[in-house]
């Protein structure tokens, strides 16, 4: 809308023309597939799968232990490999790293009893074992993203011998910092009733996240599409992101209730009172090198919730990196793509 029609009637017809044009471009882009790198399923239990990404041709393997990525339960992990120029995974492969990814799948009501211990110790533990066995290695590099980062911290504290280096991205640690809106909203929920009501529909969760900044995310973002003529690549990128945002799997009742109660309501992670399979999660047991990456404008996991990590872990090799973007921007924005994968790869290689 940079052209000034100088006439409201002209403005109106310009608005209509651009709306129709944008709608058509988005419709044409609606078949855009997500996920771009070749992968193969190497392990599966129930709905959880472990994928190994195939090395890129003509790339020399780095001298580093394999990398396992653990994403959150609340969204699909393909955002890490959305399209060739917006793929953390592809860039790690380009750096010669062996990359594995845990895909938690799409749970249904038959999974409603699965708890955090199952996710972290049983499924994640089995994935780690599979990778270690495949590479004849005793430890691997673990990258935890968002809620997956919290899982990774728990896993690492319970099984430090299996993790050589730990990378956490936009990972909440202190769940009760003053600027954490999700935490405030969760504080008074009756999680026992919610658990009994069954799995939480994914659409409800999408609605929850959009409601954190509803005018920006539900209005301005779309009107902004009319600011200039969309090209096909731009439309495809936008559609891919939109598909991902609205593609939340249902959340397992038991695990969600535990996560909200233990982490958001009781802030157990920093108090050392999370218990999984009869064992306490003590963050002081994390003594391996830790790289903690966060987004400065994160409206879902505020920086204060992430940077608390340095106060609770036992590691002396701790690096913190802030990126000037938002929560989702850390996965896909150009700024993040230029800095984050390279940083992770070089940080891992330096600790091989």
């Amino acid at each position: 809308m940079s052209d000034s029609p100088g006439d409201l009637a002209a403005a109106w017809s310009e608005f209509n023309r651009r709306s129709i044009d944008a709608a058509m471009k988005l419709r044409e882009a609606s078949t855009a597939a997500v996920g771009c790198s070749l992968k193969t399923e190497v392990w599966r239990q129930d709905k959880v799968a472990l994928y190994r990404y195939l090395p890129l041709p003509f790339i020399q393997a780095a001298r580093a232990k394999p990398v396992l990525i653990c994403f959150a339960l609340v969204n699909r992990p393909y955002v890490l490999d959305l399209q060739p120029d917006r793929s953390l995974i592809r860039r790690l492969l380009a750096a010669g790293l062996e990359v594995y990814l845990i895909d938690w799948g799409r749970p249904d009501e038959s999974d409603s009893d699965i708890g955090l211990c199952d996710y972290i110790e049983r499924y994640m533990g089995a994935c780690v074992q599979h990778v270690l066995k495949s590479h004849g290695s005793k430890a691997l590099n673990l990258i935890g993203v968002c809620q997956g980062g919290t899982f990774s911290l728990c896993y690492c504290a319970l099984n430090p011998q299996h993790v050589a280096n730990l990378v956490t991205m936009v990972t909440p640690v202190d769940f009760q910092t003053p600027d954490d809106l999700l935490s405030k909203w969760a504080r008074h929920l009756d999680m026992d009733s919610i658990r009994r009501a069954g799995n939480i529909p994914g659409a409800m969760l999408t609605g929850l996240f959009l409601s954190l900044a509803p005018f920006r995310l539900m209005h301005q973002k779309y009107v902004g599409l009319l600011d200039h003529v969309l090209d096909a690549d731009e439309a495809e990128r936008f559609v891919r992101m939109e598909k991902w945002i609205f593609d939340s799997p249902d959340q397992v009742a038991a695990a969600t209730a535990q996560f909200v109660q233990w982490f958001y309501q009781e802030n157990r992670l920093i108090h050392g009172s999370v218990e999984l399979g009869g064992r306490r999660v003590n963050l002081q047991r994390i003594r391996q090198p830790v790289l903690n990456i966060y987004a400065k404008q994160d409206h879902i996991v505020p920086p204060s919730a992430v940077t608390a990590l340095r106060r609770y872990i036992g590691s002396r090799d701790y690096t913190e990196k802030a990126v000037d973007t938002g929560h989702i921007g850390l996965y896909v924005s150009r700024t993040a793509q230029e800095h984050v994968p390279g940083l992770i790869a070089s940080w891992i290689r330096a600790r091989a």
Partner: protein, 256 residues
């Protein structure tokens, strides 16, 4: 390559896109109707600012503008029949037109259930009203902030200007929204609304469970029990099959 949930279909993202553009279009139309002769000319900033503030407030007061999470909570409306309409608390029996329901169920249990649902429904309505008050505060504050900021003096009212004003308004609305939704009162109200909605859902489920056997239907509890049993069978080690499992002496197979 992976296919996302709504691939190829008109998904919620397209609905959101349409809704946002429709809103912006309404805003443009309102300005066009209000200031038909000002096209390209210099306009009075205060009058435009106030007009836009009214338009934005009208927009915010529309329930469809509520954040999606709040709209999800409206689902409990299926339980709520305002007393003015029905005069009776909700019960599934009457909803299903099952006149024989009370005699088939224990009368006492039926009354207790009705009272419980009635209480929850009343509380649900109270909480919705409280939430609506918060929403009104957001709308009012956003409008005030906007009028305080919208300075467009000596500017032709064109699309670029309106777009800029729209961005300002979004900023004002987000600020007003954040100021409200972080408050303890709001957080408690919203959480209780979720809790009451969940209780109503569970109550409805209990009622369905008590009615289902009358129609020979399987209940949720029975399906859950079946699933648990199947899981148990899948995870337990299978006993060795056939004759090998038997501890008795192997019978000799006669050969001809």
């Amino acid at each position: 390559m992976e296919s996302a949930g709504s691939q190829g279909k008109s998904g919620p993202e397209q609905a959101a896109f349409r809704a946002a553009l429709e809103r912006f279009g309404q805003l443009l139309r309102a300005i066009l109707i209000e200031f038909p002769t000002s096209a390209g000319a210099l306009i009075n900033d205060e009058s435009v600012g106030r007009r836009l503030a009214v338009e934005f407030e009208r927009w915010l007061r529309d329930p469809a503008s509520m954040p999606p999470w709040w709209q999800n909570l409206q689902m409990a409306q299926v339980f709520v029949q305002p007393p003015s309409q029905s005069g009776q608390p909700f019960n599934l029996g009457s909803a299903l037109k099952v006149d024989a329901a009370p005699p088939l169920m224990a009368q006492n249990h039926f009354i207790q259930t009705s009272q419980r649902v009635s209480g929850l429904t009343a509380r649900w309505s109270q909480l919705q009203a409280q939430l609506a008050m918060h929403w009104n505060t957001i709308a009012r504050t956003a409008g005030e902030r906007f009028i305080g900021r919208a300075t467009i003096s000596s500017t032709a009212l064109d699309l670029t200007t309106i777009r800029k004003l729209y961005d300002w308004w979004i900023e004002c609305a987000e600020q007003a929204y954040a100021a409200t939704v972080h408050t303890d009162d709001f957080c408690r109200t919203q959480a209780e609304l979720v809790n009451v909605t969940t209780s109503l859902l569970l109550e409805q489920r209990r009622q369905v469970e008590s009615f289902a056997p009358m129609f020979g239907m399987v209940t949720r509890s029975e399906v859950d029990a079946l699933r648990r049993e199947m899981k148990r069978m899948q995870t337990e080690p299978r006993p060795a099959s056939g004759r090998r499992a038997s501890k008795g002496p192997r019978r000799k197979v006669k050969t001809r």
